[in-house]
Amino acid sequence: MRLSEFHSHVSLDHWSRHPGWLQRRDPRAKIVAALVLLFAVSFLPVELIRIGLLLAALALLTALAGLPVAAVIRRALWVLPFSAVFAGVTAIAGDTARAVAILVRTLCSAWVVVILAGTTPLEDLLAGLRGLGAPPFFLVVVQFVWRYLFVIADQAHRMHLAAHARGSHKVFHARAGSVAVLFARAYQRAEGTYRAMLARGFRGTLPRSRPLRFTLLDAAIVTSALGIAVCLVEIARR
């Protein structure tokens, strides 16, 4: 991933904290619904009508969620370089149907994930995963990775600037050395954080996230996703 994509998280984070109806829903419902839709997309038969329906449904969902449609689609298009290569190769080999399938499936899958991430802040996604049975220790580690990611990336950026200022950026070993220093600072920061935890009376178990409430509206979301999935996939069989 490039540094430019890295700071893109800001827009997602911003969208996800907007007080919209979809943002307020139980993350478990949203995760399950997203997985259902992804599943359906992976089975989608390659027919114009069906593809059109899918795109329309996604656009409608995006708009209803209060997300900026063009920006969301632009984000979904990030997967394009990877899929376009394979689609191109497949098309050249004569299998245009499959090529289109690859493009449509990858783009629409990415779109679904952008909607999910764009309406659910990461800590809520993690709470949802916890509710769905993911191991708590793993999720705590993910939470810490997220918390310190930008702090350390900023440090890396500053070290990069400082190195540039001294013209040493072209040497492999200098770069490895600075990465090692980044490691050292990360390790020391972790020790500092651990001390801060002890200083506030840490007793060995980390606090669990706030409890989630699954409402009728959430159930409706999952059911609708299932409904859409069935429509998209099954109706073809007729």
């Binding site: 899929s83 220790f137 770069r175 490895a176 490691f183």
Partner: protein, 281 residues
Amino acid sequence: MHIPDGFLATPVWAGLQAVSLPAIAWTARKAQVETEESRAPLLGVLGAFVFAAQMINFPVGVGASGHLVGSALLAYTVGPWAASMVMAAILIIQALVFQDGGLLAFGANTFNMAVLGVWAAYLPYRLWGGGRARRAAILLGGFCSVFAASLAAIGELLLSEVRIPSEAMHIALFVFGVTAVIEGAITLAVLEAVGRINPRWVKAPEPMGRPAFVLLIALAAVAAFAGFWIASTRPDGLEQLLQNAGIQNLERKYLAAPTGIAVVLVLCLFLWRWMSRPRSA
């Protein structure tokens, strides 16, 4: 290589989810038991470090640059179990927030980079990291880590009947080889620098008991032999797969054996790890 959703065939992605998700759960339990909840900040911060380090350019010649993946580096500093978990943590964030890798494909990406990538790095280190061939072991570990993960990814694409013409396959294998070499080089350089700052941050490869060692070599040899034998004498199923990808005869052997070995290697590692559980305090 993060595989997005929409590429893998259902049996492939579903099968790997079924393998990877329980593996993460088990790894999380092991890491938690071995390191206590208080280690979560350390693993998290180091995960943030690897994530950030992945974006750093390493100049490797005229105009070219390499990047660190970090599975090997993590394995050599926090041990393979914690390393697996940290890599998986990085991958889930990449999938959710940066759409780098799919959600259905999360199992496949995790298997490739967090399981295979970590253990393929750890094995050479555990075997030779304690002796005079230490630097070579680290280079090899970094290399195997990326090469095995890349091969597995290609294997998964092939199994999903994604078309990859033979010229492209040549190029891909070459590129994998180069990035794998770079990973080895970066891992070694960074690990040595880290060791100079504080030697305690580098995990010592625990010495292996002789019987376990012999058994492991024997198993690996059997696995490699079996892999070659299957590829050469029972080519039907494999052939059909590879035929779809348009690969010529020769490439088949090149691809089948390493991928087969990689998978069997992982199985060997789990088996050996289970066998070498501490029996006395």
